[in-house]
Amino acid sequence: MKLELGIIPISDIQFGPESKVENGTIYVNAEELKALILEDEALQSVELDIARPGESVRIMPVKDVIEPRVKVSGEGAMFPGVISKVATVGSGRTNVLRGSAVVTTGKIVGFQEGIIDMTGEGAKYTPFSQLNNLVVVCEPVDGLAKHAHEKAVRLAGLKTADYIGKLAKNIEAEEIETYETVSVKEGLQRWPDLPRVAYVLMLQSQGLLHDTYVYGVDAKQSLTTVIMPTEIMDGAILSGNCVSACDKNTTYHHLNNPVIKDLFAQHGKTLNFVGVIITNENVYLADKMRSSDWTAKLCDWLGLDGAIVSQEGFGNPDTDLIMNCKKIEAKGVKTVIITDEYAGRDGASQSLADADAAATAVVTGGNANEVIHLPKLDKVIGYPEVADIIAGGFDGSLQADGSIIAELQVITGATNEMGFNTLSAR
């Protein structure tokens, strides 16, 4: 399966009378887009705003971040099984509006964190501060249940990204990136001496505000399976995970998974990137046993030499991570795990809720308990009152000058467990 990504650099987003992409700028007819979003009867109103790199703007609470893309050729369309009909994506060409994102915000529950600062100290910790963001602020109809509210906000973001992406269908890309996964047989023939490596992508799948969708299927209902990395680049995996801002994988993370990108960079040179195994993180212990058994079985069956495993979220996924690591290692496959840490504010406490001697190679996204100081910014897009809950709540405190002292865990993507962040010990 071969996919070309046509990169179209975006340097600005503006509102205008006609929605179009021109000379690196996305123009959005706000009324037209709002009408599209409000076709969903679960939503009472929607507001659109723009946040650019360097502006004194704070977006909160962030639900999802999505990169606008469009299928130019090849089977299917973006976000299959949810926005477009079910069809196998991942081949042909997809245009990418690089440098832009759609950010959704909505107060589904009252306690939510998830901050993107476009300037200042907080901006250093989130990759999304470097993007031109079209922010969608959704207000539900009265009395809407939490599950329905979450779904409405999720769909509003995807519809917006799809709408923006389609504006770039006929634009010539500035640069083409090519990614290809060959069959197991061809891989063995072409690179008989290179180590066979797969990526085990763990998906959050526990319940309300903790879910992920694969071709529209709730990941908690699925067994561990194999997916081509380019299918993920076309939106086959979508985030419905709104909790633990620092280490949740947004849809943007799935589309731009850095583990996949780096494995492709080494593909055919130092290793043979065989493919991606997706597995879930359910609450039921029997599910954890079953899913990790299947993960190890697939690693063995694919004849792997190595596996990289990334987790998502805090707490019990540590158990899935360790179960996966232990069982894959037991099959004779060298395993590296990627996680983040809750090691206390001084970094001295035990980092994970689980451990095993088989976990000999661990990459960390950083310590989410680390304390940072966020300055007062001129404008808040979303729900400013959430600042008081974060500030007065469990993980921060509001200062007299309006600044916030908070733990890193409130920043969207700060300790991402795919490694899509900038924290480093170097």
């Binding site: 306690f111 599950h147 319940g207 505000l209 903790h210 609450v283 469990f394 993980d395 865990q409």
Partner: protein
């Protein structure tokens, strides 16, 4: 007379928390929770131990005590990505399904790690005294997390 004696022994064993599998009654599930929404929605269908004034930590400690009496963890004690000093609510399912020695040790470590993590977060900062509308949101999320498991056994 004999029937009365057996019944009395059963009653004593149940009150002591000894799982019924040990004395012949199989396949019983129990949810330890401090979430009234969980009790209200499923209390009539599944046996519950409702800790009305209990904290997140109290639920973990109660479950640990049950494990020591031979009960088995069915759901992970650290469900959800909400931190133990963020949400006040926790619902955990246990059962009297048989447990071998290796599983017991593994589950003992799991619950001990959960208790340690909870104490660590509480030492960083105590759970705030949340207003009622936030408490309700936390209850809804906790219920959703345990519902995935409840639907497996109903």
């Amino acid at each position: 007379m004999v029937v009365c004696l057996i019944y009395k022994i059963y009653t004593i064993l149940i009150e002591a928390g000894v799982p019924e599998s040990i004395y012949g009654v199989s396949n019983m599930y129990l949810i330890v929770t401090n979430n009234q929404l969980c009790l209200g929605k499923y209390g009539a269908q599944i046996k519950m131990e409702y800790l009305e004034e209990g904290s997140y930590l109290d639920v973990l400690l109660k479950v640990r005590d049950y494990l020591h009496l031979g009960w088995k963890l069915e759901t992970h004690p650290m469900t959800g990505s909400l931190k133990p000093n963020q949400t006040p609510y926790k619902s955990i399912m246990i059962s009297n399904n048989p447990l071998d020695q290796e599983e017991f040790y593994s589950q003992e470590i799991t619950i001990s790690n959960g208790i340690a993590a909870c104490r660590k977060f509480q030492s960083i900062r105590k759970t705030p005294d949340w207003p009622e509308h936030l408490l309700e949101d936390f209850r809804i999320v906790d219920l959703s997390l345990i519902e995935g498991a409840i639907q497996r056994i109903l």
